[in-house]
C-alpha cells in the first residue's frame, strides 16, 4: 500500500523567489511528523503546496498514491488531507457546531435537491452529520460550546475547534499549522496529549508545524527542519536537537545546554 | 417543525401586509372628506412624475389641472365640481398598473387619464376594461393600446393618432414634398414610441421607392450620438429621420451639424417643445416634424390654452401638454353628454365623440377608439417652428 501522503521534490517559486526547494516527505500511516524552521523558512508554503492552495511549480504530491498536483483544495481534502491554519480561520459567525458540521460536509453524499425536498437521504445524512459533529466536539472537549458563535470563543478553544473541524473532514493525514500558538504552558501540555490521543484514536498521520520546541519535540516521532526553503535536516528529535546545522540556523546555542527539552505531561504539572 | 415556523412567518407577513393596507382608506378618506363624493367627480391621472420620463408626466399633469380648473370655473359637470387625483408611476409599467387599480377601486374615479407612454398604457388598459372605467390616453400612439388581440378594448380610448399614420405622414412628406430618395434613421432602441415610428416610416418610405441607407440606434439618456451620426453621414443620406423625444433630438441636431451634416432632420410629435429650440440653438433649421397641432394656430381656443398655460407654468406647452389638455376636455365633454356618471355611460359618450375641437386638432374617434385627425407638418426656420402643410388621414 502506498503512503497516505507523499511529496516528491516539490518546489514552489513565486516570481524569482524559491520559497520551497526540493521538498521530500513520506508520511507513514499513523506517523507523527514535526516540521520546524525559522519564520519564512517555507513551512507554511509546504503545507499550502500539499493541501492544494498552491500548485507546486515542480515535483509531485501524492495522496494515497494518487497524483493530486493540479487539484483544488476541496478535492485534496476529500481524498483525506485536512489542515488547520496558522492564523485561525474559523467561520466566525457560525456556531462551533456548525463549523464542524461544515467540515462533515466533505463526506456528504446528498445534494441541493435532497435538501430542498427533504428526502429521506437528506434526513439520514443530516442526523449522521449532527452525530459526527457532536462527537468531534466532545473529543476536543468543546461540547459545552456547541451553540456558541465561534468568534466568541476564547483563543485556546478556537484553536481546538479548528482541529475538531479538520478532523471532521475524515482525513487520513492531518496537517496542523502552529496549533499551540497563543496557548499557555498548561494548554500546550494538554494539546500535546490531545495530538497523541487523536492519532491513537483515529489512526491517522499527523504533520505539525510548531515553534514550541518542547511541544514539537515531545510529540513528534520524526522531525524535518527547513531553512530558506531547503530541508537542512531530518530525523528523530534527539538527533535533530544535536544537529549542528539546525542549531546554527534555528535553535541557537541555548538549546545545547538544555537537558530535558522533551518533557512528559506529568513532568509539566 | 422549523419550516412550519417559517410558514407562519410568511403568512404573518402577508397578513401584516394586508392589515397595513387596510388602514389606507383612512388616509385616502381624508381627501374624500375634503372633497365629498356627493358633489365631486373625481378624475384619475396616472403619470410619470418622477424618473426618466418625469418631464412628460409633468406636462400632461399641468395641462389636465388647467382643463379641470377651467371646467370648474364654468360650472363643472352636471352641477358637480371636478377634482383631479394624480398618482406617480416612476415611469414603470408595474407601478402604473398598481396606481390605476388604486385610482379605480379605492378612489373610485369616474375617468382615468393616462399614460403618456404606450408601454404603461398597455399595463393600465386591461384594468380599465375589467373595472369598466373608461381610460383616455393622451399620447400613447402604439396601435396595440386600444386592442385586446383583434378586438377593440371597450373602455380604452386615445386622443392622438397612431404610429402607422404618423410614420407614413413623414415618409410621404419626405418622398413627395421634399423629393428625397435616400434617408437614414436614428431611433431610440429602448423606447417603444421611437421604434414604432421608425418601423412605420421605414416601411412606407421603402414602399414609395425610397432607400433607407442607414438605420442606427441610441438609448435615452445617451449624451453623445456622434458615433452613429458619423456612420450615418458616411452613407450620405439626404435626410435623417429621428423619431425621438425633444430631450434627445436637440443634442442630436447639434452634433449632426458639428459633424458637418447639412441636410434636414425629421421627426414626430415628440419633437414638440419650446426646449427643443432653446437647446438646439438653430441647429435644427431646415428640419421638419409631424405634429398634432401648431401653437401658431390662430384658433382662439389654442391661443387661449397657450396663454393660460404660459401664465400658470411659465413655459410654452408642448404637444404632450396639448394632448393631455385634450384628453381632459374629451373626458369632461363626455361626462356632460353621458346619461349618468357610471363607467359604461361615460364610455358610451366618449365613443360618440365626433368632430370635437381640441387644441391639438379635431377629434373623431373611430371604431378602434383612435382619434382620426389630420397631422400637420412643421418646419423649423431661424430656430422657430413654421407651419408647412396639413396631411389628412
Amino acid at each position: 500500500m502506498s503512503a497516505p501522503l507523499e511529496a516528491k521534490s516539490v518546489t514552489m517559486r513565486f516570481g524569482g523567489l524559491k520559497a520551497l526547494a526540493d521538498f521530500n516527505l513520506v508520511m507513514q500511516p499513523g506517523e507523527l511528523v514535526g516540521l520546524i524552521g525559522p519564520n519564512g523558512a517555507g513551512k507554511t508554503t509546504a503545507f499550502n503546496a500539499i493541501t492544494g492552495v498552491y500548485t507546486p511549480s515542480e515535483g509531485e504530491v501524492r495522496v494515497a498514491g494518487e497524483l493530486v498536483n493540479a487539484q483544488r483544495p476541496h478535492e485534496i481534502c476529500a481524498k483525506g488531507v485536512a489542515r488547520t491554519f496558522q492564523n485561525i480561520r474559523l467561520y466566525k459567525q457560525l456556531t462551533a457546531l456548525d463549523n464542524v458540521r461544515v467540515a462533515c460536509h466533505a463526506r456528504a453524499t446528498s445534494g441541493f435537491f435532497d435538501a430542498l425536498f427533504l428526502t429521506a437521504r437528506h434526513r439520514t445524512e443530516e442526523s449522521r452529520i449532527l452525530a459526527r459533529a457532536e462527537e468531534y466536539l466532545k473529543v476536543m472537549g468543546l461540547s459545552h460550546r456547541r451553540d456558541e458563535v465561534s468568534r466568541n470563543l476564547p483563543y485556546g478553544e478556537q484553536r481546538r475547534l479548528e482541529i475538531a473541524r479538520a478532523l471532521a473532514t475524515g482525513p487520513k493525514v492531518l496537517c496542523l499549522d502552529e496549533p499551540a500558538a497563543g496557548m499557555n504552558a498548561a494548554e500546550k501540555v494538554e494539546l500535546m496529549q490531545l495530538i497523541r490521543d487523536i492519532r491513537d484514536r483515529f489512526g491517522i498521520s499527523i504533520l505539525v508545524i510548531e515553534h514550541d520546541m518542547r511541544l514539537v519535540m515531545g510529540v513528534s516521532e520524526r522531525l524535518l527542519v527547513l531553512d530558506h526553503g531547503v530541508t537542512i535536516a531530518q530525523g528523530k528529535p534527539e538527533a535533530i536537537r544535536k544537529n549542528p546545522k539546525v542549531i546554527e540556523a534555528y535553535l541557537g546555542d541555548a538549546y545545547l545546554e538544555e537537558k530535558h527539552i522533551a518533557i512528559t505531561p506529568e513532568g509539566a504539572r | 417543525m422549523r419550516f412550519a415556523r417559517a410558514l407562519t412567518v410568511a403568512a404573518l407577513a402577508l397578513a401584516v401586509a394586508g392589515c397595513e393596507k387596510k388602514q389606507e382608506p383612512a388616509a385616502a378618506g381624508k381627501q374624500q372628506a375634503a372633497a365629498p363624493a356627493a358633489d365631486t367627480i373625481l378624475i384619475g391621472h396616472v403619470a410619470s412624475l418622477t424618473g426618466e420620463q418625469a418631464t412628460f408626466g409633468e406636462s400632461t399633469d399641468n395641462a389636465i389641472k388647467l382643463a379641470i380648473s377651467e371646467a370648474n370655473a364654468n360650472g363643472g359637470v352636471k352641477g358637480k365640481k371636478l377634482a383631479l387625483k394624480t398618482y406617480d408611476d416612476q415611469g414603470k409599467p408595474e407601478e402604473a398598473a398598481v396606481a390605476a387599480t388604486r385610482l379605480i377601486v379605492q378612489d373610485k374615479v369616474a375617468v382615468l387619464l393616462g399614460e403618456v407612454a404606450s408601454s404603461r398604457s398597455l399595463a393600465i388598459a386591461p384594468i380599465a376594461d375589467t373595472n369598466k372605467v373608461p381610460q383616455i390616453s393622451p399620447t400613447s400612439t402604439n396601435p396595440r393600446v386600444t386592442k385586446d388581440g383583434d378586438k377593440t378594448r371597450p373602455y380604452v380610448f386615445r386622443v392622438c393618432f397612431i404610429d402607422p399614420f404618423q410614420g407614413t405622414v413623414m415618409a410621404k412628406f419626405a418622398h413627395e414634398n421634399l423629393k428625397l430618395k435616400r434617408v437614414a434613421i436614428l431611433r431610440d432602441v429602448g423606447n417603444d414610441y421611437s421604434v414604432g415610428l421608425a418601423d412605420y416610416f421605414s416601411a412606407k418610405f421603402k414602399e414609395l421607392g425610397g432607400e433607407v441607407v442607414s438605420d442606427q440606434s441610441f438609448k435615452a439618456g445617451d449624451q453623445d450620438f456622434k458615433a452613429q451620426l458619423t456612420a450615418i453621414k458616411n452613407k450620405n443620406p439626404q435626410l435623417i429621420y429621428v423619431p425621438a423625444y425633444y430631450t434627445d433630438v436637440a443634442l442630436i441636431g447639434r452634433q449632426a451639424r458639428e459633424l458637418g451634416f447639412k441636410g434636414p432632420l425629421a421627426g414626430g410629435d415628440g419633437w414638440d417643445s419650446a426646449k427643443l429650440y432653446e437647446i438646439a440653438q438653430g441647429a435644427l433649421d431646415g428640419s421638419y416634424f409631424s405634429n398634432h397641432y401648431t401653437h401658431e394656430n390662430p384658433d382662439p381656443r389654442v391661443q387661449n390654452f397657450v396663454k393660460k398655460y404660459k401664465d400658470t407654468y411659465g413655459s410654452v406647452p408642448d404637444a404632450l401638454a396639448a394632448l393631455g389638455y385634450d384628453a381632459a376636455l374629451v373626458a369632461i365633454d363626455s361626462m356632460k353628454r353621458a346619461t349618468d356618471l357610471t363607467g359604461p355611460a361615460i364610455r358610451d359618450a366618449i365613443e360618440k365623440t365626433k368632430d370635437f375641437h381640441g387644441v391639438a386638432g379635431n377629434i373623431t374617434l373611430d371604431e378602434n377608439h383612435n382619434a382620426v385627425k389630420s397631422a400637420v407638418v412643421i418646419g423649423i426656420e431661424k430656430n422657430t417652428p413654421k407651419y408647412v402643410t396639413t396631411v389628412e388621414p
Binding site: - | E52, A54, G57, E58, Q223, K226, A227, T230, K275
Partner: protein, 314 residues
C-alpha cells in the same frame, strides 16, 4: 469621407466622450481607494456640478461668454461640488465607516435618489432662478465664444473647438491629479490611507480629513466633467448623471478600481470602444458590446487593467 477620415473622426469623438468618463471615473476610483466604497451618488454629483455651473452662469453671469466667465463658472461649480462631496461623506458615509460595505452602499443609493428626485421636484424657489430645476431639460449657457468657425478640421475629421478645449482641460486636470497623488504630501498621505488607514493614523496622518479631502477632490473633478460635458452638449436634466455615472463606474472597474491611471485608461478605453462599436457595427448593441468587452477584460484580468491581484496569504 474616406475610411481613414471616418476612423479618425470616430477616434476624435470617442476621445471626447472618453475623457468625460475618465474624469468621473477618477472620482469613483479615488473614493474607492480610500474607503473601499462604491460611491453610488457620484454620477449625481456630476449632475449637480453641471447644474451649479448652470446657475452660476445665469446668476453670477460674469457677463458675455469669455474665458474669464468659463473659468469662473468651472471653478465655482468645482467648489460647490467639493462642498457637496464633503457633506455627503460626513453625514451619509462616515457614520457607517466601520460597518459592512454594503451598508454604506445603501446610503449611497439613498443619497443618489435624493439628489435625482430632489432635483426633479418642481421649483419652490422661482426668483432669481428656479430651484429645484424640475424634470424638463435645461439649456446650458455657452461659457466661451470662439468667434467665427466653431469647429476645426484635423485631416478631414471635424472637432468642435469647445470639445478640444474640454479635452485640454480634462487632460490638464488629470495631470494635476497625477501630480497631487504622486508628488505631494497630501497625495502620499492619501495613498497611505488607501493602503492601511489605521497605520496611516499612526504616522500622524489625520485620516478623516484626508478622506474628506479625497471626497472633495473627486467631487470637484466630477463637477469639472459636468461642465465640460454640458458645454459641448448643452442639455442638462436631473437624471443625466445616471447613465454617465454608470458608464464611468464601469470604466473605473475596467481600469482596476482604486487605480488612478486605471481610471483614465478605463474611461478612454470605454469611450473609444463604444464609439467604434456604434460606428462600425450595430449601434443597437452598443451597450451590450461595451459590457461584453468589460466582462472579457475582467475575465482575463480579474482586477481590471491596472489593478493588482494580491494573493491572499494563507
Amino acid at each position: 469621407m474616406s475610411r481613414v477620415t471616418e476612423f479618425l473622426q470616430h477616434f476624435v469623438n470617442g476621445l471626447s466622450v472618453g475623457t468625460i468618463y475618465a474624469l468621473i471615473a477618477l472620482g469613483y476610483t479615488m473614493v474607492y481607494g480610500v474607503l473601499k466604497l462604491i460611491n453610488f451618488a457620484h454620477g449625481d454629483v456630476y449632475m449637480v456640478g453641471a447644474f451649479s455651473g448652470y446657475y452660476l452662469g445665469i446668476v453670477g453671469g460674469g457677463g458675455e461668454p469669455s474665458f474669464f466667465r468659463a473659468a469662473y463658472v468651472t471653478l465655482g461649480a468645482m467648489i460647490a461640488c467639493a462642498l457637496l462631496g464633503f457633506v455627503i461623506e460626513r453625514f451619509a458615509y462616515r457614520p457607517l465607516r466601520h460597518r459592512a460595505r454594503l451598508t454604506a452602499l445603501i446610503t449611497a443609493i439613498g443619497v443618489s435618489f435624493l439628489l435625482e428626485y430632489g432635483f426633479q421636484l418642481s421649483p419652490w424657489i422661482r426668483t432669481p432662478v428656479q430651484f429645484p430645476p424640475g424634470p424638463s431639460p435645461r439649456f446650458f449657457p455657452p461659457l466661451i465664444d470662439f468667434g467665427g468657425e466653431r469647429s476645426i478640421e484635423i485631416l478631414g475629421a471635424t472637432m468642435p473647438k469647445i470639445d478640444l478645449l474640454g479635452l485640454g482641460v480634462a487632460l490638464g486636470l488629470m495631470l494635476v491629479l497625477q501630480f497631487i497623488v504622486y508628488r505631494t504630501r497630501f497625495g502620499t498621505a492619501m495613498r497611505a490611507v488607501s493602503f492601511d488607514p489605521q497605520v496611516a493614523g499612526l504616522m500622524g496622518i489625520p485620516v478623516n480629513r484626508i478622506i474628506s479631502w479625497t471626497f472633495m477632490l473627486g467631487s470637484a473633478l466630477a463637477a469639472a466633467a459636468g461642465i465640460i460635458n454640458a458645454s459641448s452638449r448643452p442639455k442638462i436634466e436631473p437624471l443625466f448623471g445616471l447613465i454617465s455615472g454608470l458608464k464611468a463606474f464601469v470604466a473605473a472597474v475596467l481600469g482596476g478600481i482604486g487605480s488612478v491611471p486605471g481610471a483614465m485608461a478605463g474611461g478612454l478605453l470605454l469611450g473609444l470602444t463604444e464609439e467604434y462599436v456604434a460606428g462600425y457595427t450595430d449601434s443597437s448593441y452598443r451597450d451590450a458590446i461595451a459590457f461584453t468587452v468589460l466582462i472579457l477584460v475582467l475575465l482575463v484580468r480579474p482586477a481590471g487593467l491596472f489593478g493588482r491581484v494580491t494573493v491572499e496569504k494563507v
